[in-house]
Symmetry: C2
Subunit: 274 residues, 2 copies
Amino acid sequence: MILVNGQSENRIEIVDRGLQYGDGLFETLAYRNGKFEFLEAHLQRLSIDCQRLNIPFVDLDLLRQELTSISTDLTENTVVKVIITRGSGGRGYYADNSLIPTRIISTHPFPNYPESYQTEGVAVRFCEHHLSESTALAGVKHLNRLDQVIARSEWSDQAIAEGLMFDQHGKLIEGTMSNIFLIKSGQLYTPKLVSSGVSGIMRSQIIKLARKNSIPVSELATLVKSDLIESDELFVCNSVNRIWPVKHIIDTKQSFSVGEITKLCQSQVAKALD
Amino acid sequence: MILVNGQSENRIEIVDRGLQYGDGLFETLAYRNGKFEFLEAHLQRLSIDCQRLNIPFVDLDLLRQELTSISTDLTENTVVKVIITRGSGGRGYYADNSLIPTRIISTHPFPNYPESYQTEGVAVRFCEHHLSESTALAGVKHLNRLDQVIARSEWSDQAIAEGLMFDQHGKLIEGTMSNIFLIKSGQLYTPKLVSSGVSGIMRSQIIKLARKNSIPVSELATLVKSDLIESDELFVCNSVNRIWPVKHIIDTKQSFSVGEITKLCQSQVAKALD
């Protein structure tokens, strides 16, 4: 099911700036057990990202209403993607503020990853493609996603669940579709997104929950491969898959067990969504 | 007029990866005085860029044929944009090689810039937004164009024809829609596109023509603002506007006259296209 500006529709104008320039943003929400998870956090991030790109989309109430409306037809767990583009038109790259943003809501089957990904963990690899660096775009969940596409094309082995990405200087940033946390001596560490990366909703919820539960958590701009190897526990996370412990880094032959802090984070997220 | 995969159509599937991820490339061609300018160079660059992004689009003959076919209906100078996306589908960022690329050809009125832009030159400004850096994407004319959109949104004064862009380290790269050449002591210099920028067709033609005419030309990865200020002549270029001498940099109050090397480049380009 796809809604474009509230109407059932599976196509979009070619002149839409989302296609022409990747001039827009997106959110990927989990609709699980009859509700949208962290809905308000997603809407708030979307609003902040629109401000960062100066896309004049303000009608969060309308979007919330449309999401609620489509959810009445959802009979099972569903991934719901929201795209906001700056709209159609403008002269080349230039767009004045009169453009009306395009609002797209689409529903997708939940990915059928094995349950063991949550309980036993996943194998990950290092991506050869490095993330672009831009302080102005860091953190924003925008539609310029070639880095992720190129990185994700590096492997087809389904036994590898995720690829870890580094910036142009070899600093650890995130997975192709997830953020990453390292655990060392009972403390959580996650890359600080200064010049690359997406500031994921699950990432920010985990930081919030950790602080609430007095688990020390730090964002560091200096993490590199050796920090991964020296970690006690590792996990990747996103809104749909929640927390996947990392059990194995293919490139290093390094293995990890599913540790106590990871399990605590998993249970805290589950509890927050009960 | 828009053709999608050879059919008249003004919309595209929402699931197309061009919209979802900016997963594609484009070319902007000038159809002027009854012919496509530097058509083979555009097709060759498109082919190289497809290889760099691993988009399996190979049918240049078909594209050439479609362009020739639509040109029979063109009665005046026209901008023709070609977009190639990786196609529709895939599982998230992952796309296997079975996807069929989407081919979009659209025609647009020639921009009505004053004739004086060619003869007397243009005013330019420095953009505050800096270009993303990625060695893997540098040079490629891909659909991830948020940097240009953000930079071009910085001004609306129509007296300013172009904005000059710098990378994350303050190195001069290009204009929002053009490449740039500096002239000092009879020599041409243009930024080397190591980690940012688009390798423009007009840029490469100018380099080729300069070498043919024994004008020394160097690509430098070290150009900064002071090099602009210390230049004897400056010009920006692209396939549609050809060569615009820079007569004024707003931010520095610096002025330049339209010099002999600039005029020589203009006449060489015109001659190559006669």
